[in-house]
Amino acid sequence: GCGSEANTENTAPKASDTLIYAQGSEPRGLDPALVDDGESAKVMSNIYEGLLKYNKDSTKVEPSLAKSWDVSPDGLTYTFHLQEGVKFQDGTDFNAEAVKFNIDRQLPPQVTEDMAYAPFVYGSVKDVEVVDTNTVKINLKAPSTPFLNNLAMIMAAPMISPKALKDNNNNVNQAPVGTGPYKFVKWEKDQNIVLVRNDDYWGTKANIKNVIFKFIKDNSARVVALNNGEADIIDGIDSTVVKQITDAGNKIFQAPGMNINYMAYNTSRKPFNDQKVRVAVSQAINVPELVESLYQGYSEPATSILPSFMEGYDKSISQVAYDPTAAAKTLKDAGITSLHMITYTNPRPYNAATGQSLAEAIQGYLSKVGVQVTIDSFDWTTYKQKLKAGDYDLAFYGWIGDNGDPDNFLYLLSVDDPTMNIALYKNDEFNSLIAKGLTTPAGDDRNAIYTQLEKIAADDAAWLPISHAQTLCAYQPNVENFYFHMTGITPFAGVVKK
Amino acid sequence: MNEVLMDIQNLSKHFIIDTNFFGKPVAALKAVDGVSFAINKREAFGLVGESGCGKTTLGKILVNLYRPTSGKIVFEGKDITSLEEEQRRSYCKDIQMIFQDPYASLNPRMTIGDIIAEPILINNLLPKDQVEERVIYLLNCVGLARHQRNRYPHEFSGGQRQRVGIARALAVEPKLIVCDEPVSALDVSIQAQVLNLLSDLKEEFGLTYLFIAHGLNVVKHISDRVGVMYLGKLVEIAPKKELYANPLHPYTQALLSAIPVINPKHKKERIILQGDVPSPINPPAGCRFCSRCFKELDDCKHNEPAFREVSPGHFVACHLFD
């Protein structure tokens, strides 16, 4: 138990001073270098800041702790000019040394295997130089176009007080100290995390004094909590409860999400090593109908792997069209009558309806074209293991974008790791285009590469892209200015409660 | 004069009732403690004594239900104490038992016919096709009707059940039957029926009985010789007439005098014993009866009296007769 000011007061603080945000599960921790989950991101985005941040409505980068930056023409050196007079919440100074400390921590030889995002964000970094108190230089091993975008991420990139890290054994999961608008107060396991306004914040101070993150696992329980006045904002809801929420006078927040929900064919073995069979199965499935009834308008049917707002997206790309008759014929000719499908039991951010329902829906479609599907569904841990084992014809998965760069989506089809490239797709042409895209500077040329990659993927039909889930939140009518960024973070500094 | 059927030599049974942490016994209950006597062929040997004095335990040792702690049982000249399981079972045919509680001694899930047939079948005494006939015969012997063969025990009264128990014991044509208080649980009017039946059968089949009871009046009626037990030990043995006419041991005397007489005119002099039977776990040193005895001598507290023959066939364990 941690003591806090709240303890000694015998009455609840005024409701307008407190914002209660209910989410589905508990963060793994609050050390940005050590966690990789979306639930942590929401909390951390209020405590920490990175050198850069994303624009409110897109993934374009903007200054944050760095006022400005220069990139050398060869794309190997990045120089950042830092905000002056910024202090960490523990009173220590934020400066170039702190930046170096934070990045060095995640570079070899210091990096440890549990720093999930370190290779992703800093994998291209050679070293960090302190130029002066407020200037820092980062040298890369090779040019990497997504690097700036990475520095705005909430994983790995935020700046932690070096003192706190030293005090806490290089792990601030339970004792985060950043520079952000809210300070960490306490964390009751399985219940809530309490933050309080950082009154010494260098930028515009937050409006609401207390922020509480509550963890309510069950979706409908969160709705009850909202309607019962136990929470101000809830997330992770699905389409079926929208009416219930609006009927109770509460509001819905809806925004496009940076994710993809897909079904993968196991291209490494029969029968899906044959592109024609893959296409036939895709033809059997009426994706728009499926998405409409499973997600009721709160997910968009996917026409491409990339969400429509991302660089590289092209309207002209389309997936295989619904044609059950053709599908039935091809499948019959290929002699396919039964298939083995594996899926996960829980809802995922990109699939609120659970993998199981999705699988059953697809099972329904395939039975109409004469293919019997057996489903094995597993909890998430086991599922990942089953994916690794590779014993399936069809499997379900999804991806949530990390940094808004198209490479972040399309590279999945190029890697060897069977838990990422679950279609076990292998295409040399595709792989070399991916490598090229990584080093090409941002711009139309680069975007063209990704459009090309999308086309290859669609033609080859290694995946059946199903939907892009919208971010769906609900909030009390007296809450204003709430937004949920497409990278999955919820900065509360600007939120007002009447 | 009489041929000995069973000779019981210094028989003891100690129940271990507490062990220490390592399973070593630390307290024993001496239910039967060094008992010796002989049962003659075709006699009824009565055994009386108060509740808990070890009568049932003794009977159960004789029918192999308990292994004695020490001592010897010689049956028809053969030592049957330390036989292997298989051989022991072969003696089942010879020694049978009738139990005290007619309600608990019959398997409630078997018909009485099957109960009686079972010993015949498992001992292979008769060819299968003759078993049924024999069952009916036995039923008739104990005064039950043929048509009742397929009824279950719960459909019978206590006296009738006791008859079934008797028929079961008779089925193997035993030589010795241990009757453990066969009438204690029965009503007076039924008691007489069962006692008469037992006498009749004894004559008819030439049986030998060890007849256990806690009342001297019942034993008197049926037995030829009577033994009196107190706290795991025999205190007196005598032929029936001798014992009732001339009881020697103070306990026997008290026991006899305690029996109410059905004759209001003859109010006899009562010996009322003080206190209760002590616990067999820590029996008093010396004579076991001395804590309740009305003729206590100095010796009694320290020395155990020997069991000696004071007149032909009359044995007693008391310092008064040293």
């Binding site: 609840a12 549990d114 999930a116 995002y117 999961n173 399985d190 207390n210 696992k217 019962n228 909890d379 | -």
Partner: protein, 338 residues
């Protein structure tokens, strides 16, 4: 008595070792590999291997067990793979919530169960008896989680009377003394916190109590019917004392003996039932957490929890036996006293 208790406590050791072996086998031999989930979506194959090596998962199973036992004996139950916090701490932060819930539930169940059971027995075959028994029957037949959801829908969703989840409004949270909010808030004189905690606990405790209450009601009734048949009740009545006294002082005092056993056993099964209740009510206890950890293959935590719960269970049994001896003077711990 003391000797008996010591003997019993010594006998717990093999039981607990057995329990740890059972769990160890289930978790480490048959369960999925935790590495990929611990290391997250960008982990490489090497990282996974390195992690397994570092956590000793590549050792032979008996060695793993030996290391575990070694740690456990020195009070170190290991570190959660997932949160990297010590298992002891993980458990201890959640345990009071479960215990508080279980205790409130068992108190509710016992009070209602005994009262209804006694009245049913005394007024055998009356309308009250029939209604009480029907209630008890439904109580043992309803899935606890379903009941929980129905309660939430009714009292939170429709009537808005009671909160649907959590233990307390975090801003009202009392200073931690015992970890039981109801007690802590009273001790610190924080009445609004007490009220809030009470409101939070009512629904989950009722859902959890329902099954036990039904069992206790039925047990009480049959035990009382049994006792009321006994000869000594007739003796008591023959003394000319009031019927109320006969029932409470003579019958209930004796009838309580088997009821105590049932209550003791129920407390054990409540810890199991908490798994479902906590899931439904987002109660921050050990039950729901353990399920999550089982699904995440967080071995150290699951082993720790099971060991703890088993310890509590066997200690409860011991306690029940001691209370039993207290209630029933016929029971002796040593047969020597016979």
């Amino acid at each position: 008595m003391l000797k008996y208790i010591i003997k019993r406590i010594l006998m717990l050791i093999p039981v607990l070792i057995g329990v740890s072996i059972i769990v160890f086998l289930i978790m480490r031999v048959f369960s999925p590999d935790p590495a990929p989930i611990v290391l997250g979506q960008h982990a490489t194959q090497q990282a996974v291997e390195a992690w397994r090596q570092a956590n000793g998962l590549n050792d032979p199973i008996y060695l793993q067990y030996f290391h575990y036992l070694q740690g456990a004996l020195t009070g170190d139950l290991g570190t959660s793979y997932y949160t990297k916090t010590s298992v002891t701490k993980e458990i201890m932060t959640r345990f009071p919530a479960t215990i508080e819930l279980a205790i409130v539930a068992i108190v509710l169940a016992s009070i209602f169960g005994i009262v209804i059971g006694v009245i049913s027995a005394v007024k055998k075959n009356s309308i009250f008896d029939n209604a009480g028994m029907l209630l008890a029957l439904i109580g043992v037949s309803m899935p606890i989680f379903w009941l929980g959801i129905l309660l939430i829908i009714l009292f939170s969703g429709m009537l808005h009377w009671l909160p649907s989840n959590g233990r307390i409004n975090p801003l009202l949270e009392p200073i931690h003394v015992t970890g039981f909010y109801l007690i802590d808030s009273l001790v610190t004189g924080n009445m609004s916190a007490f009220k809030d905690a009470l409101q939070h606990i009512i629904l989950p405790a009722s859902a959890l109590a329902m099954y036990s209450m039904a069992i206790i009601t039925r047990m009480t009734r049959s035990s009382m019917l049994d006792t009321l048949q006994q000869d000594f009740i007739r003796t008591a009545r023959a003394k000319g004392i009031g019927e109320g006294r006969v029932i409470v002082r003579h019958a209930l005092r004796n009838g309580l003996i088997p009821i105590v056993t049932v209550i003791g056993l129920q407390l054990g099964s409540l810890l199991g039932g908490a798994v479902l209740t906590e899931t439904v009510f987002s109660w921050p206890g050990i039950g729901a957490y353990t399920v999550a950890c089982i699904l995440k293959s967080d071995f150290p935590v699951v082993q720790g929890v099971v060991l703890l719960v088993a310890t509590i269970f066997v200690l409860m049994n011991l306690l029940v036996d001691v209370i039993y001896a207290f209630l029933d003077p016929r029971i002796k711990f040593s047969k020597k006293e016979v």
